[in-house]
Every structure is written in C-alpha cells, then in structure tokens.
Point group: C2
Amino acid sequence: MKRALAFVLLTLLPLPALGQATGDLGLVIERATGSLLLIDRSDRAALGRIEGLGDLSHASMTYSPDERFAYVFGRDGGLSKVDLIDRKVVARTLQAGNSIGGAISDDGRLVAVSNYEPGGVKVFDAETLAPVADIPAAGKTIGLVDLPGRRFAWTVWDTGEVFVGDFSAPAPQVTMIGNAGKNPFDAVLTADAHTYLVGLFGEKGVTAFDLWSDAPQPEKFLTDYGKTGEDMPVYKMPHLQGWAFTEGQFALPAVGRHEVLWVDSETHAERGTTPVHGQPVFIIAQPASPYVWVNFATPLNDTVQVIDSRDHSVVATLTPGKAILHMEFAPRGAEVWISSRDDNKVLIYDTRSREKLAEIAAQSPSGIFFTARAHQPGL
Amino acid sequence: MKRALAFVLLTLLPLPALGQATGDLGLVIERATGSLLLIDRSDRAALGRIEGLGDLSHASMTYSPDERFAYVFGRDGGLSKVDLIDRKVVARTLQAGNSIGGAISDDGRLVAVSNYEPGGVKVFDAETLAPVADIPAAGKTIGLVDLPGRRFAWTVWDTGEVFVGDFSAPAPQVTMIGNAGKNPFDAVLTADAHTYLVGLFGEKGVTAFDLWSDAPQPEKFLTDYGKTGEDMPVYKMPHLQGWAFTEGQFALPAVGRHEVLWVDSETHAERGTTPVHGQPVFIIAQPASPYVWVNFATPLNDTVQVIDSRDHSVVATLTPGKAILHMEFAPRGAEVWISSRDDNKVLIYDTRSREKLAEIAAQSPSGIFFTARAHQPGL
C-alpha cells in the first residue's frame, strides 16, 4: 500500500502549474507550427508549449480579466480558449472561414470576433464559447475593439461604416455611428477609450470618432496621408494596433513610405515626420518613457529603430536579428521582448541600455502577448 | 487500499488555492484589525482574510510584477510580504518606527520604504526582505515612487529636497535633483513617469520635476494653491496619489477648501475650478472615461461626487455609505469598489449606471488595491 500511496503522491504532486501567479506570464504565437509558447517574464524563460491552435500564420489574442485564459483568433477562423494554468486548449470553435482579430468585453463575459469570410462580427460566451450573437455586415470587418459597458466598436472595409454594438442588455443594440471613408484597413482605440482612429486605404486620410460623445461624428484629418500611385509597393499593411500615443501625439506608420508621422492628439494637426529605415509595421510606445520603437516591413525587417517623441529624432538603430515581427514591453517599461522569426528566437532587451539581456528559443515566433494586456481597454 | 487512495486524493485535491489566476484579485486593508481581506473582482466576493499585519490604521501596499505578493507598509513601521496564492504573511520586518508608504522597483527585485521615524528611505530585497540599502535623510520622507531602470524618487518634508536613487548597479547612486519648496506633504508621478508633482504645505504652490530630463529643474506653478490662514481647518491631508490625470489635465484637491482644481498638464496653467461637496481626499480617474470620482474629508465623508473632466461639472452626487475612505476602479473601468468604513462594507458600483451592484462585508475597510496596479509605474 505504501508503494501505491507513493505512486499517487508522485502522480499528483508534481503538476507543474500549481500555485502559479499569472501577472508576469505571456504567450508567443509560433506561426508556422500553430502553437503557443508560454513565457515567464520574471524568469526570462519558456514554461511550456501549447499545441493544436490551427493556422496561426496571422493571429492575435486577448486575455480574460483574471489572466487565466487567452482567446486566440486564428487565420483559419478558429477561436481557441487557452488555459494558462493548466497549459492547454480548453475550448475551440471554427467560427468562420477567416478571422482577423477580436476583443473581450470589459467584464470578461463576452468574446467578439471580426471576420473576413463571411464578414460581420460573432459574439461568444467567454466561459463556454457558445454563440451569443451573430451580427452580419456588408463586408469584411476590421478594427474590432472593446468599449466600456460591455460594448464593442468595429468598421466594415467594403462600406466604410463604423458600428458600436451594446451587449449590456439581453438583446444586443447595434448602431451605425458614421462613415469613416473608402476602404478602412484597420482601426485602433486610444488607451483612454476616447478616440477611435480609422486608417483608410481607398483614399487618403485618417478618420477619428470621439467615443466619449453621445453622437460621435467622423472627423477626417491628415488628408495627404496614405498610399499614392507614385509610392513604393506596400510590402505589409501596417498595424494600427501598433500606433503609439505619447506626449499628446499619435505616431502613425506612413503607408508605403519610410516615415513615421506625428499628429497632435487634440487638434489632429501634423506635428512632424521622422524618416526611418523602412516601411513601419508596429510603432509601440515604451511605457514610462518618451520613446517609441518601430519595426519594418520585409525586406528591411532586420532592424528596429527608437524615436524620441519630444523631438522626433531617431536615437537608436538596432539590428537584433532576422525578420523582426513584433515587440512587447514589460508593462512598466524595463524590458522589450522582440520576436525574431527567422532566428527562431525571442530576444529580450533592456530598454535603458538597449543591450540584449537574454534570448529564448521559439519556433518562428510572431506576436508576443503579456497578460498585463488584460487590464488595458482596447487590447 | 482503495480507501487509502481515496483518502490521499481527498486530502491532496481540495487545497483551496491551486491554480489560482491572480489578475482579478485584490486586497482590502481592514484598518482596525490589522488584517487584509482577499477579494475576487470577477466573483465580487471575499476569498479569505489574512491576519497579523500590525497597525494598519494608515497603510498602503504595492504588488510584485507576477501579482503573487503584496508588500504592505504599515503605520508601525512594519513591512509585510503577503502571499496571495497561499494566503498568508510570508515575511515581515519592523523596519522603522513609523512608515508612510513604499514602492517596488520596475524589475520587482527591490522594495523601498519611506519613513517618518527615523526619516530616510530603506531598501529591501523583495524576495527575502533582507536589507539592501539605508539612505538617511534630514527629515521625514514623503512621495516615494518607482522610476524606470530600478530607480526611485522621494522628497524630504523638512528640507524640501527631492532625490532620485539609482539601484541598478551594486552601489546605489543617490542624487539631489532640486528643492521643491517649503514642507512638501506628498508627491505623485504621472502614469507615463514624466512628471513628478510635489504638493507644498509650508507655502503655496505645486512643484513639478520633468523626470524625462537629464537635469530636472523644479518648476513651481499654481502659486495661489494651498492652505491660507483664512481657510477652514484641514481635516485630512489630501492624498496626491489620488490626483487624477485626464484630458491633458491634472485634477488637484484644494487643500482645506471645497474645490477641485484643474491644471493644464503641459503649460501648468489653471484651467478651472469645480466647487464640490467637501474637502477632497482622493480624486481618481475612471479608466476609459472622461470622469473623475472624488471622496471627502470628515465630517462630509458620506458622499462621492463624479466630475466630467471636459467641462468640470459635477454630473453625479452619490451617498453610498458611512465614512467613504477609498475607491478603486476595475482596470478597464466597468466597476468602482468603494470602502465604507463605518458600514463595515465594500460597495461595488457600476460606473455606467452608477447603481450599486453588490456589497462585501469587511472590517473597517480603508484602502482597496487590485493586482492590476502591479503593471503601472509609480503605484
């Protein structure tokens, strides 16, 4: 019997994840293998791999308010719920043919997914992934974000229409709040949930909606912003999720040009331009600092530049590795974690010295997502 | 043998704290009993009580980056390390005669405490609470905050001197960066770690230091701000930790007056005044909204007011209970948790409807601290 007891003790006790606090965890998308790497920020280490996520060649995720679960949106239309404590996929639904992103409601009860095929937005119970609402649209939906009060906003590529959906009552209320313009390619919400910014591809300009207003109106600015026929080809559509908001400015990636544009966040007047190494993909503010970090589209994607938002000057140019796809900051800004896809590594840099501190093996890493995102509106 | 196995399974499995995600946890200071109430934001519930914290009649806390540990600073000079997973005090040191607050370094390795008796700052290893550095001062230290790069800033009440301590190398480097003025009573750091604001008691005015600058200079503003001989007595010194930063403004509690003052965060020019119910204690921005919530000093402390930062108007006046001591928002703003000391309750309000959703029994609750604070500079 002693042997039996010892066996039980051995099989029960060494579960790796007992008593795991979740504040410094994160997940790295391994795009080629459809897997996630669970990472620990304090230990600068990988804790394990979670597999079976489907096609993650273009994927993003959001976290439950308790940081226990990640909701992963895959290119194949798969919505997967991943348990960070038990380190496995606990629910998965192929909810569309092609999805491009999603969001979780501020109370953590609903997960919304924006889809390309078919278009529209689907809303799921965050606990079970049971369908709750299916909002059709006249085309592909982009720029889906969470708003306070169990609401979401999204935009339709084909029509330019912007919607706010309120899911606080049993019957959802969906309102068209205005037209952003021709072929909006992405949209983003400022951290204070005040301004919803929509980038246009079919015409020049960016359109802002004041979501604190009871009747938001589209306000177009930077009307010489965008792709022109003369420009270089656009190698990669920049992500507006990577727009930085710093020092009363928006830092925008110029579409198809080697430039970062600075716009006053109150007046929407242009404040300056920074010539950079390539076509910007992500422009991300280093927390608790005046700096933004920028990565670039292929074939210039071995480089990262750091820009001072006060004078718009490039203060550092780093070449951390091959195919730099994403950067994620420790929430108080001490470190930045950088995915180098073709080196199969995540690189950890000190933001003060801008020296490499450590690296972690990963399979074709792309997006890096720390759990602190659970506490930020619009992420 | 089956019975023995069943016994082992029963004793091993139901440990209460296994697999606890920590993102939606919090602690409430129970000031009269020296205890902490562990709370779960998603379940709107108390999970348990942790005792033996000493004198918590004036106390605050900060969290480790992984959200597993809280460091509690008590009035008796006690520094206690509390494990949220195992729900107990795991280390405690009586490090001074009277401490008033502290901070944790951005990498989570060091905890600093600011003391009244004796003055100065003591720094401890966050793992063991072993002493690391003892920085004497010419008086009581106030306004201790963490800065990026394993640094802290603090101010000395008796001399007005402001210091930055850099603990990134083995030997700490402490630099006096300037003099704030006569008898600074508290100081606070903006969320972007840009501006360190020092409120003065011995003279009128507020002093700002630009901590992004290599050589910060004191810049005094609002020089008609502060206590005058003609004013009402100051029933409770306002907390600058409760200063709100919203819409490009600082919202400041008028010392001794029934007013909230609005100051432009760039120019430091006064933008307006809001007459309010009493002497403001905490002025806290509701995340993802234009609103700030204000509570008041005794004897008018049964009331909470909500002010719109756009036009400075009071949009709601609530009387949630007796002796409202603190308010803490869910990090994405859906709810506010309010401690009502003399009702022995924590009240949970929906921020959109401003209706009460639930309440939780607590013994003389004062400060409420959600773990999401782990990810904010200066908290």
